[in-house]
Point group: C2
Chain length 335, copies 2
DNA sequence: TTATATTATGAAAACGTTTTCATAATATCA
DNA sequence: TGATATTATGAAAACGTTTTCATAATATAA
């Protein structure tokens, strides 16, 4: 809180020889004021370096001009990229983002959202997370709400996401086209819908190609790097041969890569490796990772756009974004 | 903003048969209230699910209970880890962090800080950035302020940082101990004091060991991955031989690694590679990166602790944190 | 020209708290 | 027991805006 006693609207009113109502009107710009008075107010504002008090404004108007943004983990590249998109999308508007971190834990997520709601945010952008369809519907009656990077059933008109199954299908199909038949899959955490969708896409592609789905080639991870390491151990211990691994996100692909390196298994000479997300770091993996690109920044930017529009009372429909295969050097034709 | 008309302190007062003053006193807990009334108020609060209005509170008390946190870039692992530390340090207190992103651009940084100050934050944590010593001193007369991960001259009692020169000295010394004499250095961006300090530590270590500093082995990067790639090109084009590279941060080390991979130069067999920061991803580089660990989470956590204490009016001194060498597999004895 | 509609403006109420100030109730002391 | 100090409490002012309402000034229509 600034210590110097702030300039208030009263000071401006006195300086400009008008009432505080007029000052307010000039500042908000929603009601007509004569040019001469407007002029006077504006110069007074500039002269005294007036900064409106956010609390007084919020209290009187019932608007905070803040958008709450819930991420799951500061430091997760994919989520951070979405954050960046939101920042970008809000930049230059009167709205200000307030961030909170759900830390991939349902209770913390709930608390964080409530803390933001209590802080009177005007809109809420939730990135991923665990809120159920019911909870979200309930919440969205209270506050404009957009869900990013997650497809919640019965809530699709609030969700900006790419179709995980389709994207995953593309990735798997590419591996099949390279001649791989035994493709292992490291899935995301079981309680996460995205993980299920990605696994589904993988299985669909295999089916379509007439390749048997081998349960022993599917192993559950948790979207974190370390789980990729463990998954390789598990996979190898099962003794079923395979020529490619499709990890449900890039992070697990990095873990996988490390595990393979430790065992002297070369990528892509001995084994092809496919990720999912296309984080910025993916192109710096050794070798650069073939993956499916989720347009993260765009997702965030679109979320900001949509919520802004809805706040203005416009009815906009959710844009559909597509994932795109990014071929790099971690995959090659199966000999 | 919640649509259902909120429960106010008046409702509680009515329900509990006390005045609103008493309700406020119970809620704030700073003034004694008889047990019976306290009881009554508390049950009413629970029953009606009362949520205090942040704006009214802020307006009346002059406190926002918010701490502004300025980062330089969502998505930068090192900064994100500090953010996490701040979140951790604030968790469970009455204070709530508000984040903004300076995007490594002085003007945006300034704007973002002003936006937060205008939002009446009670304290400010700035991570890195470009504010000058003067600007910071000026700002800190207005608001409690802690600078993290940057050492600003004449402002040290507000700065939580590790000694970059010493840390860098350690790293270089380790390479020297491995028998490397020709050690290239990829520095950070020239306008950044940390970059200068790290280069200084590198030079000090060489001097101490009686090894000549060769200007041709020093090349300027900008702390980003891509600049590591370019640095290797530059270095090789100069035709001066070297057996180790010390990059001023991990990100540039990744870029370096990729560039070497492309040229078929093996790490660590042909060349040792040293980073700086120890981001979480460093241990997943191929091969795992030897680096200097900045205790990022701890830095953030300490920043939160210190600012909280100062907000309570306590005079606490800044803790000193040490960087620590983390030896992994990207370095080896020079043959 | 007069009656009526429109416009710009200021006064004052509202927003929901915290906190000062006054006072009734109670405790403490001689 | 009476006088005084202490305590708990409520009334009311304050925080700095926005917005409703009333009104004076002006434009428009007959």
């Amino acid at each position: 809180m600034l210590k110097k006693d702030a300039v208030t609207i009263d000071d401006i009113a006195r300086e400009a020889n008008v009432s505080i109502s007029t000052v307010s009107r000039v500042l908000r710009g929603n009601v007509k004021v004569s040019d001469s008075k407007r002029e006077a107010v504006l110069t007074a504002v500039a002269q005294l370096d007036y900064q409106p008090n956010v609390f007084a404004r919020g209290l009187a108007s019932g608007q905070s001009m803040a958008i709450g943004v819930l991420t799951q983990n500061f430091g997760s590249p994919f989520y951070d990229a979405i954050l960046q998109g939101v920042v970008k999308g809000l930049y230059g508007t009167d709205y200000f983002p307030i961030f909170a971190d759900g830390q991939w834990q349902p209770e913390i997520e709930y608390e964080a959202i409530m803390a933001m709601v209590q802080r009177q945010i005007d809109g809420l952008i939730i990135i991923g997370g665990f809120m159920t369809s019911n909870e979200l519907s309930q919440l969205s009656t209270q506050i404009p709400l957009i869900m990013v990077a997650r497809q919640v059933p019965d809530f699709e008109d609030h969700c900006i996401y790419i179709d995980n199954a389709t994207a995953s299908f593309k990735a798997t199909k590419y591996l099949l086209e390279l001649g791989h038949k035994r493709i292992a899959h490291i899935s995301g955490r079981a309680d996460h819908p995205d993980a299920a969708a990605r696994q589904q896409g993988y299985e669909m592609a295999l089916e379509e190609a007439g390749v048997d789905i081998i349960q022993g080639l599917i192993v559950e991870g948790n979207f974190r790097r370390q789980s990729g390491v463990l998954a390789v151990e598990t996979l190898l211990s099962r003794g079923i041969s395979f020529s490619a691994i499709f990890a449900a996100n890039d992070q697990m692909a990095y873990g996988t890569r490390l595990s393979l390196y430790r065992r002297g298994i070369r990528v892509p000479e001995d084994l092809s490796l496919m990720g999912f997300d296309d984080e910025p770091a993916a192109s710096f993996m050794i070798p650069p990772l073939t993956t499916v690109r989720q347009p993260a920044v765009e997702l965030g930017q679109e979320a900001a756009k949509v919520i802004l529009a809805r706040l203005r009372g416009e009815t906009v429909s959710i844009p559909r974004l597509e994932a795109e295969l990014v071929v790099r050097e971690s995959t090659r034709i199966h000999q």
